[in-house]
């Protein structure tokens, strides 16, 4: 298993999750990720992720809009995001249940 403890904040997943809403360009992605997921992606990280995701066919570029190129999720990207989300959901579910039973955690 290659996931680290911060897998939930893995930048590629954050970008995929952002693009699952609608096509966005770079700045819109960083804003959306910061507003909805609480993570600030720097310019270098964002474009390293975009080039990797594009290379793997998980996102695709659209026509330039005044130097800003929007990207959209591909079908393969949606499948990848769904698989990762399901795994994260399972982990979150198990963790929350055990925290409730063993630590009296009442939930956030």
């Amino acid at each position: 298993m290659k996931d680290g403890l911060n897998r939930w904040a893995d930048p590629p997943l954050l970008v995929l999750a952002s693009l699952a809403e609608e096509p966005k360009h770079g700045y819109a992605i960083t804003q959306d990720v910061a507003d909805t997921m609480g993570v600030r992606l720097s310019a270098g990280t964002l474009y390293a992720v975009i080039s990797r995701l594009e290379s793997r066919g998980l996102i695709e570029p659209l026509e330039l809009d005044d130097r800003r190129r929007p990207y959209r999720l591909t079908a393969a990207g949606a499948r990848e995001l769904a698989e990762q989300s399901e795994r994260m959901r399972q982990v979150a579910s198990v963790a929350q249940q055990r925290l409730r039973v063993n630590y009296g955690w009442a939930g956030a």
Binding site: H25, S42, A43, A48, E54, R68
Partner: protein, 314 residues
């Protein structure tokens, strides 16, 4: 899509834009405008500059597949291997002059030590294979470059860098011829008190000067074809063959460098009768130079040969 954000400006933006220059050309061509737009939109600061600079490293080391320019990678690799190979060839020439060519001196010393002799033989073998690889792989590429340059009317600029090594060889030949002429002293710089380092009677200062000029000439002669190769944007079988030959040439030249290091250290340790081999500073310069140039040659050649293989079908 999102609304337009507020603009900010500042010196950090300039820094962040400068960090973009650290990326490979293909990466900049594909994402440069977008990143500049992002920097403009987000009011980039020092964090953006640092982040961009940091991520430039993997952009070079592992370029995304869709940006992988195979012919460009091979051309860049050939240019880098050419420079490193020229440097190693220069170091090999110095080694030959100061060690192997000192036949009379070796008779008086312990250079016949088995390790040194084996190193000499291995050095010679590797050197021969390397030169042959350069000739076999480089000649077709050179002819292709010449044809392309002729079509573009750029033959003069292609051949211009060759003037430097030719001039160097002529000057060196003239100096050696003067020094070897009978009589004493023949030329003002042939001081009788200096050690015969160069086997031709040239004093150490002149020998060192010729060596430094030789390295400069070798690097210029290697840089010329490298730049021309990039400018002509060649691709095809000649470039692929050259990239494969460059790998063999780089590996064998690197091995020659390593065997010369063994011999040089051996002479330092086991040649007590000849004081010239017990000076530590030449070794302190020679060994790191050989290691560095070999590493550059082999790594660049490996990247070139990787680019020369057709991409795997997914």
């Amino acid at each position: 899509m999102s609304a337009q954000p507020p603009r900010q400006a500042g010196g950090a933006q300039v820094l962040a834009r400068a960090a973009l220059a650290l990326y490979p050309p293909t990466w900049r061509a594909r994402y440069g405008d977008e990143v500049r737009a992002l920097l403009q939109d987000s009011g980039a600061g020092a964090r953006a500059a640092a982040s961009l600079a940091w991520h430039a490293v993997p952009a070079w080391a592992c370029p995304p597949r869709h940006l992988y320019d195979r012919p460009g990678r091979m051309r860049a690799s050939l240019a880098a291997v050419g420079m490193a190979w020229a440097l190693l060839a220069g170091l090999a020439a110095v080694f030959v002059q100061l060690a192997q060519a000192q036949g009379q001196v070796q008779d008086l010393t312990l250079a016949q030590h088995r390790v040194i002799q084996w190193s000499y033989w291995a050095f010679d073998s590797c050197l021969i294979v390397s030169v042959l690889a350069v000739a076999v792989g480089g000649l077709p590429l050179w002819l292709t470059m010449l044809r392309r340059a002729r079509r573009r009317g750029e033959v003069a600029s292609l051949l211009a860098p060759a003037v430097v090594p030719v001039a160097y060889l002529m000057v060196t030949a003239a100096v050696v011829a003067l020094v070897r002429r009978p009589g004493h002293p023949v030329v003002p710089w042939q001081a009788s008190s200096v050690v015969d380092l160069a086997n031709g009677g040239v004093g150490p200062r002149w020998f060192l000067t010729l060596v430094v000029l030789g390295f400069a000439a070798a690097l210029v002669s290697a840089a010329g074809p490298g730049l021309a190769l990039r400018g002509l944007r060649l691709h095809g079988p000649a470039v692929v063959r050259a990239a494969r030959a460059a790998f063999l040439a780089a590996v064998t030249m690197g091995l020659a460098g390593v065997t010369s290091m063994v011999a040089a250290v051996g002479l330092y340790l086991w040649a007590p009768a000849y004081a010239g081999y017990h000076v530590a500073w030449p070794l302190a310069v020679y060994l790191p130079a050989v290691l560095l140039a070999s590493a550059v040659a082999v790594v660049s050649a490996a990247r070139g040969i990787r680019a020369s293989s057709p991409p795997a079908v997914a």
